[in-house]
């Protein structure tokens, strides 16, 4: 930020440190998401196991942010942009921790998925994964640069993830109807997709927070939302049941 420093220099250092811890958490969350999706795509149980394990580090960093924020609020009584900065760090850390949790869930499913036969190649999972990874990377860049416009691009991008999720949902339901032996695999993949979709939502949360840090006003409530799977039903063909 193009601001002059605080009269109390230690305060500047503390704010910089807070921002750095968030960036570090973000970097870890980013690579967790990438590893988890890779583990699913490549059916790599070992990579998945490492990913599950690595989640602890992010939890630890989140606790560090929590404690640090409480300390800053108590000792510095931040105002205006500092206040927004500090409160936002708390929210972003929580969102990153949740995103990493979803990555961990995906990694766990990846382990289970190695024990069941693969279904037809599901391209949508890696594609969704790429989209969400991109969102997380971009939103972290936006955070580091305090760039609200860049954050807004991420905020809008989530609609596309939701659309992918919708089509994947229908695709997997169709596979399950085709052959009940697919059900186990498809059920796991549905959860994987849901986890990835949730990561996208968290990235948009972070984008909203960045917008608040920079401009001091919240984005409008109604984000373009596209997840309609809660209303989606796929019926077997009438001919099949009649025959």
């Amino acid at each position: 930020m193009d601001q002059t420093g605080h009269t109390v220099k230690a305060y500047d250092k503390e704010l910089t440190r807070l921002s750095n811890v968030i960036a570090q958490m973000g970097g870890l969350a980013e690579s967790q998401v990438a590893s988890a999706i890779e583990a699913v795509v490549k059916r790599d149980a070992e990579l998945a196991a490492r990913t599950v394990e690595a989640d602890a580090k992010i939890d630890e960093l989140e606790r560090e942010v929590d404690e640090f924020v409480v300390r800053l609020l108590a000792l510095r009584q931040p105002m205006a942009s500092d206040l927004r900065e500090i409160v936002s760090a708390l929210k972003i850390a929580a969102d990153l921790e949740r995103a990493a949790d979803h990555a961990k869930s995906v990694a766990k499913r990846a382990i289970a998925l190695t024990q069941v036969p693969p279904v037809k190649p599901v391209y949508t999972i890696p594609r969704m994964g790429k989209m969400v990874q991109r969102m997380i990377t971009d939103v972290l860049d936006a955070y580091v640069e305090r760039d609200a416009d860049k954050a807004l691009v991420v905020w809008r991008a989530d609609e596309e993830v939701d659309e992918s999720y919708n089509s994947l949902f229908r695709e997997l339901l169709t596979y399950m109807m085709e052959d009940p032996r697919n059900i186990s695999t498809c059920a796991h993949l549905l959860f994987v997709a849901k986890n990835i979709e949730r990561m996208g939502d968290l990235a948009t949360n972070i984008a909203e927070t960045i917008h608040y840090v920079v401009h001091g006003v919240a984005l409008p409530q109604d984000r373009p939302k596209g997840d309609i799977t809660s209303l989606t039903v796929v019926q077997p063909d009438v001919d099949d049941t009649a025959g």
């Binding site: 002059t4 009269t7 105002m79 205006a80 206040l83 927004r84 006003v217």
Partner: protein, 266 residues
């Protein structure tokens, strides 16, 4: 009487400001202390004036009950309307004005008189009561409203100066209230008090705003944030920004306000 029309609510139902000030310029001899200040003070609200030392906030406060009149070489230009009336008009009785616009200072300054007489002083010189019983009632109700009565009711004859700092300040507030003002000006009323006494004054300010319009100069931004509904930031004799306190302390619009309240002033 065009000015009087300003005291009726406008079409939107907004109440007219208690004080309406425009183009206020203040000079101490050659030196200009305030530049074109334009500020409206909302009735029954606490407005805090903040800014670094020498920014003009106390000068502005003192314009509002013509305390600057007593400073030699001080010249006040511009329009300062109280309920639509120009307080610098020749016909204005300054003593009466200062009864309507009371003041509480940085250091508690009780008169070297008894607690009772400190509060009774104003009503006596303004002839607000017609007999002893009324005076006693007014003194007691003023002490009650200032949150001091319970602590001093058994020793109203003791000198005001025998009280603690925080009690003395509340005594000064009781003294200001006793003449039934409409506005109370406070110039750093808590800077000589400990945190507990400060909290009691802040609680009192919040209660008083139901009946009075309060304008407070403070160096403590936390205090401004705690007690006021509107905050005005002064810098180098200019009013930089005024707005809802919440807005000023979360999303100030001017970089100078931002720098000041976050502690970045060089």
């Amino acid at each position: 009487m065009a000015a009087l029309e300003m005291t009726t609510p406008d079409a939107a139902g907004n109440r007219p400001p208690k004080f309406s000030t425009k183009n206020v310029n203040v000079f101490y001899g050659e030196k200009q202390a305030l530049f074109d200040v334009e500020l409206d003070i909302v009735e029954n609200q606490v407005t805090s004036l903040i800014g670094p030392s020498g920014c003009g906030k106390s000068t502005y406060l003192r314009c509002l009950n013509r305390m600057n009149d007593v400073v030699e070489e001080c010249r006040v230009d511009g329009s300062i309307l109280l309920d639509g009336h120009n307080i610098y008009d020749r016909s204005v009785d300054v003593v009466q004005l200062r009864a309507e616009v009371g003041m509480v200072f940085q250091k508690p300054n009780p008169f070297p008189k008894s607690i009772f007489d400190n509060v009774a002083y104003g009503p006596r010189i303004h002839g607000l009561t017609s007999n002893r019983a009324e005076l006693v009632e007014l003194v007691e109700s003023s002490l009650i409203r200032a949150g001091l009565y319970e602590e001093v009711k058994d020793r109203l004859d003791n000198p005001g100066t025998s009280l603690s700092g925080g009690q003395q300040q509340r005594l000064c507030i009781a003294r200001a209230i006793a003449v039934q003002p409409e506005v109370i000006l406070m110039d750093e009323p808590c800077s000589a008090l400990d945190p507990i006494a400060t909290a009691r004054i802040e609680e009192l300010i919040d209660e008083l705003r139901e009946n009075f319009t309060i304008i407070i100069v403070t160096h403590s931004m936390q205090q401004a944030a705690r007690v006021s509904q509107r905050t005005a930031f002064f810098h180098l004799g200019k009013l930089v920004e005024v707005g809802d306190t919440e807005m000023i302390f979360t999303t100030p619009q001017d970089q100078r306000t931002q720098d000041y309240i976050t502690g970045r002033f060089g």
